[in-house]
Symmetry: C2
Subunit: 207 residues, 2 copies
Amino acid sequence: MKYHRIPNETVRRLPIYLRGLVVLSQQGVNNVSSSKLADFVNINAGQIRKDFSFVGDFGTRGVGYDIDWLTKQIKKILRLDAEHRAAVIGVGNLGTAVMAYPGFRTYGFEIAAAFDSDPAKVGKKVKNVTVEDVSKLNSLAKRGVDMAIIAVPAEAAQNVADALVQAGIKGILNFSPKRITVPKNVKVITIDIATDLARLPYYIPSS
Amino acid sequence: MKYHRIPNETVRRLPIYLRGLVVLSQQGVNNVSSSKLADFVNINAGQIRKDFSFVGDFGTRGVGYDIDWLTKQIKKILRLDAEHRAAVIGVGNLGTAVMAYPGFRTYGFEIAAAFDSDPAKVGKKVKNVTVEDVSKLNSLAKRGVDMAIIAVPAEAAQNVADALVQAGIKGILNFSPKRITVPKNVKVITIDIATDLARLPYYIPSS
DNA sequence: CTATGTGAATTTATTCACAGCA
DNA sequence: TGCTGTGAATAAATTCACATAG
């Protein structure tokens, strides 16, 4: 294998492969070819091999990939080999949905803390986590929490982001449509539900 | 303006511009330059002009863009000039969050129906919409609903998708991590929360 | 003189096709 | 022989820089 910069698009796909591999493994399969995996995750086989070629030599020619080994390698690249703790800020419907989301376990995430500004929610337990007041956000780094999920109304998003940066959080998953500004050593990934819905009609053939 | 195929990435950004324009308009501004808008939406000015150049001549050299006019044009391109009705399938936390989401109004969407398979939820009102049984999905097209949002557990996603296709739905926003298969005249946009969170550690500098 | 619109250059990503290893 | 790994070719998207219109 030669040195390669890992393309962003490849990083985006690696978690998809990872989930596919976990599911296959649960089905008792322990070896898979790029074209089998391709069927499974709906990404073409050449693309999969190319993606893997950026990060290592994982397969055996004529045979395919050992699922356990490949899983381990991808986790290492994505830094998912260690457990990660995340905090959810904003325990409304969306925040609660995120806390209940079963899909995180695959990647070794634990929702370790939850915060809200509503006194009626503070102190209550949601999915086994006691909701704390947003003013308590500092302390997160000390507790081994390195990522946060912002699920507050748009108006509050920047303030929450500022507090998170202050608290030493280095990765933010942002559900608010508001652009949030952070220092460049902090990574923000935004999920903007409304804009995704908004481009759907464009692709719907006019009736 | 010359003929151009509209790049997918441009279609992805148009709703972002649109929201920025709506906010600016609410602030009483009625003209904006590409660089002003750039600051506002955090996409560089050249990119914005290039994107617009694919879809029309909207600006005035030396002056900028008329916000009302530009808003109208973008809406037309995205087919957001007509109201769209959407149905939410799965009224759990995520489905409820989607129904309560204020961001859709900007784009002229109305959540006009909600479905769940849980008899305890059927008949209840959620955000002014009465929850119906999933078996009632056929009827959607007749009610002018052309889009659906899948917020059910992964195992149920494909069945729901099949029923939606049967019901004449042409656009699906899918929150389930399961790949869903539909005829190619139906557009699916997937929001995969776990994979987005999963690539965050990659970008976090190792501590 | 300002800010658009757009070719041209560049960068990034995908697809192709096949050499080479088990 | 079967499937990987990867250069080379192609396609897609972004950035640059400037001629041009108001």
